[in-house]
Structure formats: structure tokens, C-alpha cells
Symmetry: C2
Subunit: 655 residues, 2 copies
Amino acid sequence: MTTDYKTSKGQVFERETFESWNKRKNFYWQSFEPYGATKGLFDYGIAEPLEYEILNIWRDHFIRSEKMISLKTSMLTPYKVLKTSGHVDKFADFMCKDPKNGEILRTDHLIKDVIETRLRGDKEARGQKVDEVDDPKKKKKASKVAKTAVKLDDEVIKEYEHLLATLDDCQQEDFANIVKKHDIRNPTTGNEVEPPVPVNLMFQTEIGASGKEPAFLRPETAQAQFLAFPKLVEISGGRLPFASACIGYSFRNELSPRSGLLRVREFLMAEIEHFVDPEGGKKHPKFDRVRDIKLPLLARDVQQSGGSTPTEMTVGEAVEKKVIDNETLGYFLVRIMQFMQKIGIDMSKLRFRQHMENEMAHYAADCWDCELLNSYGWTECVGCADRSAFDLSVHQKATGTNLQIREALPEAIKSTEWVAQLNKKSAGSRFKKDVAKVQSALDSLSQELREKLSITLKDQGKVEVDVAEVGKVELDNELVKIEQETTTKTTREFIPNVIEPSFGIGRILYSLLEHVWWTREGDAARAVMSFKPSVAPTKVLVVPLQKDTRLTPTVQALEERLDEEAISYELDQSGVSIGKRYSRNDEAGIPFGITVDYESLDDNTFTLRDRDSTKQVRASLDDLVDAIHKMIKGKESWADVQKRLPAVEAKEEDK
Amino acid sequence: MTTDYKTSKGQVFERETFESWNKRKNFYWQSFEPYGATKGLFDYGIAEPLEYEILNIWRDHFIRSEKMISLKTSMLTPYKVLKTSGHVDKFADFMCKDPKNGEILRTDHLIKDVIETRLRGDKEARGQKVDEVDDPKKKKKASKVAKTAVKLDDEVIKEYEHLLATLDDCQQEDFANIVKKHDIRNPTTGNEVEPPVPVNLMFQTEIGASGKEPAFLRPETAQAQFLAFPKLVEISGGRLPFASACIGYSFRNELSPRSGLLRVREFLMAEIEHFVDPEGGKKHPKFDRVRDIKLPLLARDVQQSGGSTPTEMTVGEAVEKKVIDNETLGYFLVRIMQFMQKIGIDMSKLRFRQHMENEMAHYAADCWDCELLNSYGWTECVGCADRSAFDLSVHQKATGTNLQIREALPEAIKSTEWVAQLNKKSAGSRFKKDVAKVQSALDSLSQELREKLSITLKDQGKVEVDVAEVGKVELDNELVKIEQETTTKTTREFIPNVIEPSFGIGRILYSLLEHVWWTREGDAARAVMSFKPSVAPTKVLVVPLQKDTRLTPTVQALEERLDEEAISYELDQSGVSIGKRYSRNDEAGIPFGITVDYESLDDNTFTLRDRDSTKQVRASLDDLVDAIHKMIKGKESWADVQKRLPAVEAKEEDK
């Protein structure tokens, strides 16, 4: 798909130029290159300190400022946990096998490739302009096929277009029908493919050597956070709302990874689990502070009627009109947007898209994606979902661990209820460690059922109950008492709901790289990376005017000072001109340059250069260090500094 | 083993009291508790922000200050990489199976347990005092066995003691002999065990679904750093020395993890690969800055003669006397010690122990461990090894990728050499992608062999060469030319050596927890965690004097100010006394407390309390914020602040 993606300066963005910039500057690369590189795995070079700064801002913006409980949890996850959460059964993609060469193809990719190629062939046959294909490999393939351009019926074109638009919603049967009906074959071999089958996307391994502990690399950090819930209650004092946050790696065994950093097998996530009372409309205590902030919202109904332009609306209005389900969800959308702004995301390339009904998990109440536009199109970078009480409920049921909140009621409530209570002693010796599961099964019975069971118990002396993971158990009068009891309730017990903002750090980082990338007028081969000073991987470039030992002591003193101030810097004393050295380092995104010249020897003043404007000021080292600190912290901009400190003429023509 | 481990205040350290503190404060816990918890996997609660601060200091101390290239590399690692590095064949522990119940026991643990129990039984039988056993589970087992106390011959005792002392050096055969000779059985079943076999300790998985890409979770970050070597050369400009650094997770599939955070299956490492020229004595450009700093060194010869007391020696003297092999190794030992000091490690519980010859890998030139003393004994927390050129050499050989440095020679050197050069065209079409491997095999032949081959080639028209990963290949005159050439060398090509400081972050963090833990005089159940302000997980505790809404606006204003200043804080407005609240939060290690009282409403002054001394000063909020910032940055101590700001009487008796 082509996009109208342009740089922040309005220049046409060429991905090949961008990629050759990355090859030159080593921000990231495919892992294990000497062994042929592994698809979907990446190493970060200069992108590593960039990621570190992004995470620092994330921690400050969310964990410190919202007083979240930060957690670190294990990546290795036992089978049982992910069986309960549903990942063992449902975390899968559909695959088709080419039976002749054994190749395994992701069904949605396969269908998309084949249909797009046919549509391109049709355009070719009709003499229309064929869309450019971004991926150079695809381009080759496409042009090969385009030679055998075939005109299609108008009806078929319509069907194909509809098919592409709805491909994301397809299930196994739909895929099977499409493959059969439209004769979808492996495009590289021309072979027919086998019907689609689900393949689980988790990496499987084993803990220990006993063969009894199958495990997975986690597909999300969320599950371990839910299992830490009893600890979270202790740490927070149990007063809702509270939140945990976890920055950690998750894994997805993609079968044919594409799209560079956007779809990888091992990726860093930052996930927040915000626990709220399901009653009372999920209000947020700090909502008033953000009420008037506008969000670019692409709501479900707009999408349904074919729209793709987001509406600007204050979050207050959006919650009032129920465009956004509740205050807490709305509050987080604002905080997500503010975070993106802090790290330097282009706000004209950000939107919030609501999930369609069929995109959401069945238990989810509402879900909004923060999407960033990059040259691959609009890309989901943060999911912000209301997961309801689903996860805690299933884990409580499976383990018998109490994952509820107990809250004092404002006033006591009298009520009469059927209560089914195991006899601790006899049930304990009968069911051993399963006793909690049996009680939990009884607790989940409705009032009606409990009443019925009490009658059966009286009549027949025993009842049968279905217990999760245990099966049917028989209970007699010795084991259980089922009676109507009048109780005075002073507390309320409930499983909280969860609002989950989940950040894909790699996708955000990649989008940021594209957003800050542009080329200087008249120097299209050379990029400028306009990182904000706070996120720039290196803060200062030190440039001695010439290779001259007379400058050395001053350069060294400057280096020592920057070290003392803990300001990261690079020294470029290569022989080329100052202009060339600056231009080369603009590609690394270093925001400030300090030139050491002969005047510096005399009066300890230096010029400070701004990367984006190439403007320079001159001042004492103390003043410059102070200005740099303030700009890194975001307390001053370059414009502020320019007003305060005397300008000097920039001479960069000598490239 | 019992240790003389004491707190920094000289109190006897009881691990059970320490563990109950952790249970109360939730610093860390075993993962997946609701599912029965998984051994060797841990979640961090309050330890997470602590780890973050430790890593921040690590990054600043090493990456920024030493201008290292920070990398992030993949955890999933293809089989081939770890085959070459030797991990597939050698990264193993020896295991014995109990054939009757299938239990798998780590051989060294098994032998140690059985022999120690016998020695304890002997003491019991002789009516001697039996050493306390730290592990409560062991204690139970020990006491059970002690009932059947059996006296041993003096000769046997000697043999057992020698056996325990040399257990770490045993190989498969030694273990097999011990198990047989000493009738070592599974202590829980009394069954005989099968002979020891090696079990690889890497977690295995598979990339993709083709079955063709077996992979492991990496056992160290080092290998991926070596494979990024060509990038490091580009980024650094290729001028030695340069270093890469990687903070990342590694994995070890322990069969029976013990010792809490000290031996886990998933752990964070911070590894530095410092590349140096092997010629010229591995000097370090900044060695002069550290020459006079003293290190506590436990050298190899001292250990050999049974000593265990380290010698204080300046690093300059140690390198001169060849106690430490070279300047670079010495420089890093100093930097490691300085890092430990920065994060608050007790310097009386730190030593550097040199590896014995048989502890080191065959290729290592020298290796020193930085060991920290904790209640488990002296624990290896950082390894600092000279890995020579081993890793780069084997990867170059296996892949044909050039992993050398090319350096201009000060003056050109003429030499006559036998050169075996493939014909690019014919060899290219014959060997395809293996052509680099074939050339690499030729390049690794000695001069003598090349001369011999040239004769064979002349006589028989062909020669046979062994090529790594390819096998034997036949080369004729069309494919290869072997001739004597006189060349003028202006550059030198060589594989650099690697000095590797490798930090186990979890072990350092755990030792730190023990080092800063003590109990207040007269309140032995309550701990104080004396974290340095820079590493403390939370910096400030806000304590309103009473639950009184009149205080609320001032508390809120204080909170807003702390937020603005990005100072992390907690608010404790529970109903208990100030003293109790402070004492409770001392256990979390919050270094500073701010009390909001009725005076604060009038004059906006507050008292600031120091956790360790419980002393208080009173000043304006501006002054207090300034003091807190300076103490967090380590620019002022509490003693400095006490001198500057007026003291107030502390009233904490009301617990």
C-alpha cells in the first residue's frame, strides 16, 4: 500500500534513502548478520541510548507521576498460566503449507499478496497507472507478474477489494473458503497450498529437565501482573484505583516477519494495568485536570460509515457523549498523547482509533489504539483497552486464589442468602489442596441453584458439583452445609476491572525515527535527525577548529567539564572541515555542537551550535553548560537561548 | 555453611528475620505464586525501582563516562552461533537420575548434601556442637538424619573434607567415581542413582514453524556483541581500544535452583566487551588516573597456599608485580570497585579473587572475580576476564566474516611470503556462498604448509584442504594459485583481544539488600534499609501530622511541588502515630521524611527527617527541595545539610 507519507518539512519520504541512512549510522540492524541474519530479530546500536531516553520519559510520565507500582516479572511462563489466560488456545495465526517444497505461508499475507498482484495486473491491462510498491522485493515480484497483466471483470474487482478490506476479521473457515474459491497459490512456486491451520505464536520451551514443566516465552507482560495482584493490594493498601506497570520483553514467533521494526519476534513493551471499581462509572480522580484537552478521535461509527478522518474533540465531551466509554479510559488517552508529545512524535501523525466490535476480545468493554503514521501507514503503537474483570476472574477460578478487593460499605446491609459452605475439616481431608477450588465452585453458583441443591441434599443426602480443573465431585451432609442465612454485610468483595494501556516501544521508536528524519535543502543525501534534546542519544558534539596540539588542553578541559556535568558528548577531531563534521553528526541527531577555536584559548568562550537551525551563539562555558542542561530538561528552547546569548555568524558553506 | 555474616552495625544477621522483612515489604517474590510458584524465577516489586537506579548509575559510570557503545542484542539466539562459541557442547551441569522416581539431581549438590550430612552425623555421634544449617528445609532434613548419627574414621573425615573443597573442579569421571566409591544415594528416597551425565543448561526453542531453526535463549550477552563487531568498528572509527556494553537478560536452565536471587533461571547481566590490541602489553589510556588506588586482592598463589585474606595493594603495584596481568584488567577492577561504592556496597564485604588455573577457560589469560560477602558466603558478582582473541577467532573461522582490525603501520615492512589465493571467478562459481570460508581456511594455513601445498599442486595438479563447516575440498590450478610473493606491508591486520567485565545485577542487588539492612536498637523486629539517596526506590515520605482536612491544601501543594521537581514520594496519611509511620517506612528505605504540621500552614516551613539518624531539620520548602536534590545527586550528605539548616527536636518515642 502506498501512503502519502511526508517528512516534517513536507518532503517526499523515500524509504530507501532512510534505510541507507540507517546503514550508515548503525541505529539498528538485523541480529546475527555474520550467520546470515535472523528475520524478525534486531540489535540496537545508536537506537539503544535513544530507547533508554524514551523509557526514562515513560517512567517519569507514568510510573513516578501517576504513582504506579513498577514491577519486573518473568518472561519464562508456565504452561498453566497461559492455558488459563486463553493464549494456548487462541494466540495463533493461520498458515498454509506448500506441500511440494514445505514452505509455510501466513494465510492473510498470502491472500493479500496474490489478490493485490491480480488487481495490479488488471490496472496494467487497462493501461492505468499502477501504484508504487514500497517493498523493493515485492516490487520485483510485482513487475514480473505485471508482464502477464490480465484484465478482471468489474464484479471480481469489487469482490477483491471487499475481501482485502475485511481480511483482518477472517477466521479459519473464511480463509479456507477464500483460498479455495479464488485459487490462491504460493506465488513463488505456483503450487496449490494446503488448507489453513492455526499455528500457535508462542515460543515453547521447558523449565528444568524433568519434562514435566512445559513453558512459553510470554506473549504479553499482563498475565504476570495479574498474578501479582495480591502483592499489589498489599503494596497499595488496597484502595482503588491503583495501577501496576511493567517494562519488559514479550515474544511472538512470527512465521514470516515483515515491516522491519514494526513486526518482530522479540519486543519491548511497557504495559500498565490500572485497577478500578467496576461500579460508579469508572471515574478517574485526575480527570478534571485533562477535561478540556482535545484528542483526534476516529470513532467506531465513523469507521463503519467509511470515514477515516479523526474528529478533534475534548476528552470531557467525548466521555459525556459516550464516544469514549469512561473517564479512566479518556484520562489515559490524554496521558498517552502527552507522552508522545514529550518524546517528539509529530502530532499531525497521531490519531486514536476505536476498535470495531469484532476486533475486540469478547470480554473487552472498549478499546482505543493510539496509531502513528509512518511510511508503512497508520500503525498501532499503543492499545488502550478496558479488559473488564476477565483475567483476574479466570485466574481466581483456576487457582482458588482470592483476587478480590474488600471494601468497607458506607452502611451495613442486611440480607438473606443461600450459603453453601464446606466443612473445613472433613472437606480438607477429602479434597486436600483442591478444597479452595471446590469452595470457589460453590461460591459461583447462583442463589437459585443453591436453593435447589439444598433440597437435593436434604432429599438424597448428596449433591454433585462441577469443579474447574477437578471435575465432578460428590458432596454429602458431612462435607457441605447449604442453608439460608441472614447476614449483615459491612464489606463488599469484588473483582476490579482493568484498564490497560499497552505500549509497543519498538514501534514508537521506529515511528519517531521517521518523524524526526528530514534532509537539508540542497543536500538530499544527508539526513538531519531532529531529536528533542531530552531523547537525543548523545547531547553534545565537541569540534576542535583544527588538528592543532595548541587546542588540546582546552579541548581536554572542556571534556572534563562535560563529564563532571554528566552530559554525554562525542569528540570529532577528524581532519575534515567543520561544516562537514557538523553535517555528518546531524545524521546522528546530536542536538548541540561546541566549537573550540583559538579565541577559546584566550577567553574560555565557545560557540554553541543548534543542529536544526545551524544558528550559533557564543558565551562562557558556564553559560553554555547551563543552557544545555535547561534545553535537555525542556525548561528552555533554542529560541530562548538565542534571545539570551549573543549570536555569531555560522560558517558552514565549506562542505 | 555458616558464615560470620554481620550487619553493618555489627548485629548478627538472621536470614529468617531478613526474609520476613521481605515478605512484609514485597521487594521481590517467586513468580507465579497462585500457580504454585516456579523455582528460580522471581518478580521484583519494590526491588524494581531499586534495580533501575542501580542500572542508571552503571550506565553513567561505565557507558557514558567511558564512552562505550551501548548495544541491545537479541535473547533468542540461533543454534549455530552457540555451537561455534562452545556453549552447545560445554555449557552443562552433571546430573544423576533416581531411576525409581525419575527425580533428577545435580551431582555436585547431591554429593555435597550427602557428605555434609554424614559429617554432621559424625559430630553428633562424637557429642560435638553441630553447625547450624541456614536453609530451614535443610535443617529439617539434617535433624532427621542426625538422629541416626554415625561416627566416622578420622581418615574418612579427612577424605570427605578434601572432597568438598575440590568439588568445584570435578569433571564427569571424577563425579562418577565419587558417587560409586562413597555410595552416594538420593537422600529423600535412599535409592541408588544412575551415573552422572551432562545436561545442557540452555533453554531450547525454535524460531518459526519450519522445524529448521533451532534456537536457544542466550546464556550470556557476549556472543551477540562479538557478532556486532563489524558495526562497532564502524561506529568507533576502528581505533583501539574501544568497548561495547550491553544490559540484558540471559538464561540458565538450572535443574534445582537454590539460594534465592543468587541462582536463578532468568537474570539481568551488564556485560562490557573492551577490545584491545594484544601487542604492547594491553595498556589503558586512563591507567594513570587510578594507579594509586588500593584494591583488596586475593591472588592465586595466596589461595594455593590456603590463604583467604586479601592483600591491600595499589593497582599500580599489582600490575608492576604481575599480580594483575595488565593495565586494562587493573583499570577495570578499580572501576568495578568504584561502582560498588557508588551504589552503597559495604567496602569491607568486597574482595577481588583471582581464578585458579583450572577455573579459567583454556583461552583466558587471566580472570578476577569481584566477590561480595553476604549471608550465603563470598559470592561472585562480577567476573572480569581476559578472553584473549578466542571468540572473534572462532566466529571468523565459522562464518568467513572479517573480524579483524586494520591498522596503519608506522613504517612499511617488506616481506616474502607464501600466498594461497583463490581465483575469484572460477572459485566463486564453484563454491558459491562458501567461497569466503575456503579462502579463510587457506589464510589460516602456516607458511610451511602453504609451501608444501604449492609443491603438491605443481606435482599433482590439485590439493585437498579442510574447510570448516564445508569439509574437504579439492582445489586445482584453475581454482587456486599458491606462490611466493614479496609484499610491502603498510597495514597490520589482527584480531583484537577482549577484556570482559561481566556483572550479575541480581546478585549485586541482593548483596546490597543485605548490606544496607539492619535493625534499630530496641526494635529488632523492625528493619532499616540504609539505601543511599541515589539508589533508594522512593526518595521522600510525606507525613501529615494528623488526619485533619485543614492540612489538606498544604499537603497537596507540597505534592505538586515534589511532582514538578520529579522527586518520587509516598504519602502516608494513615491514622497511626508519626513515629510508627516513619518506622514502618524505614523498612522501605525511604531516605527522607517531610512532616506537614500546623506551623507549615502559617509559614510554609517543614521538618525534614533523615532515615538513618532520625535527626530533623526545619526550613522553607525551597531550601528543603534544594537539599534533597543535592543529597540525591551525592553532592551533599545529611551531615552537610544538618550544618546548614536549623535542627529541631525529633519526637519518635510515641511508637
